[in-house]
Symmetry: C2
DNA sequence: TAGGGCCGGAGCGTTTCGCTCCGCAACCCA
DNA sequence: TGGGTTGCGGAGCGAAACGCTCCGGCCCTA
């Protein structure tokens, strides 16, 4: 460890490192992410991981709980923006940073508390979309689910994940800059447009059973 | 097997099924995709897989070769379009269908022939981008690499992959429709815009060592 | 300096892996 | 129709990777 550090502070730092490492490894390795790789990426022994969490599942459970908090906060903060477009941009760019937790579907159990938080998040997000629609800054033929799918699509970054797998830390910053440009392109596609979207708006059922 | 079928025709059908299954499983499971799951999804025994390919690596190698051919064909066909914008749309929508083979990086060896084909594909794609720029249908601040990254980003579909993992075949068609809308949104973001992209255009080095 | 608590990681049993090999069924030719 | 051949599916092998336990040793405290 670098320098002197009180015990409690180190434990706290380790816990944060574990959660971040878990997210990164999960993005790269998907559902097959191993506890050994998570601990290694966090710069922590396996033993420390198992002192904090009783099992791999429990760690993932905690990860989902935190993500739900973040999604709610992001949606409500975006809704609080004066400019609806800025609020939407804030939501998309922030949500993309959280990353997709889809690989965890089926591994975690959804508590009532989590379902409630999820509903709250959805509600704020729907209000944000409505606000943008009313202000005329969001194309009329796009629905909240379209935007959610777009965010999820932007959440995973194949290039960044591959560079992480290869350990090319030197290129990561450039890749992240490039990703911001791609996100900006996609966001521009959400502005009012004369070119209508194909097909019918997607139904809610696509998202309703995501964590089943 | 269903009905009577000559031996050679069945073998050919099996090979095609194997390649398609390999692509699907690879998209869902990433680099950890197992031969057993590939064979099962193709509706074929493991033995048949190993009669056609000497190893898992050889199958993946073949997959990359085919993808290179497809990329080249798509780029040259897009370039041949009279309307540059239609050509670009054709390229993006088709390339997205091929899917990302990024997980295979490091598992396959790049032959000179493959490198040459890749160069040919890149050249046609660059010409396609130039043509669109000159016609003024593609936003000026976007580079060929931006578009490549966008295509790669759109290539993976977390929702579809998750539904496949869960075996929810009933929702797959709706998910694919929804995905087409997301792609259309992103494509609209490529049209000329008054809102400049952030940062500097990405460098070629991001893609140069992809298969290292 | 003596003690206690937290650390990293070796190693357990289990699962999953890539791959081989063989019994059986389908087809061809006499 | 019957014997030979060809290609099929999948049981099972050794090896590798997995989740998790447990303990020797280091660091902090007093």
């Amino acid at each position: 460890m670098i320098g002197v550090m009180p015990r409690q502070a180190e434990a706290e730092r380790n816990d944060r490192a574990l959660l971040e490492a878990a997210r990164e490894v999960l993005a790269v390795d998907g559902a097959h992410a191993s506890v050994a790789s998570i601990a290694a990426r966090a710069g922590v022994g396996i033993g420390s991981l198992y002192r904090r969490y009783r099992s791999k599942t429990e760690l993932f459970q905690h990860l989902v709980e935190i993500a739900l908090d973040q999604w709610t906060e992001i949606a409500e903060r975006g809704l609080a923006h004066d400019d609806p477009w800025d609020g939407l941009v804030h939501y998309v760019t922030s949500a993309v940073g959280i990353g997709s937790l889809a690989p965890l579907a089926g591994m975690v159990t959804i508590t009532d508390e989590m379902a409630e938080k999820n509903a709250r998040s959805d509600k704020a997000f729907a209000a944000l979309i409505d606000k943008a629609h009313e202000a005329g800054v969001l194309r009329a033929d796009v629905t909240a689910i379209d935007v959610l799918l777009l965010v999820e699509q932007l959440g995973k970054s194949p290039l960044i994940e591959q560079l992480q797998r290869q350990g090319r830390e030197d290129l990561l910053e450039a890749a992240r800059d490039a990703r911001r440009r791609v996100i900006a392109i996609a966001l521009d596609g959400l502005r009012p447009s004369d070119h209508p979207l194909p097909g019918d708006p997607p139904g809610m059922d696509l998202f309703s059973e995501r964590w089943a």
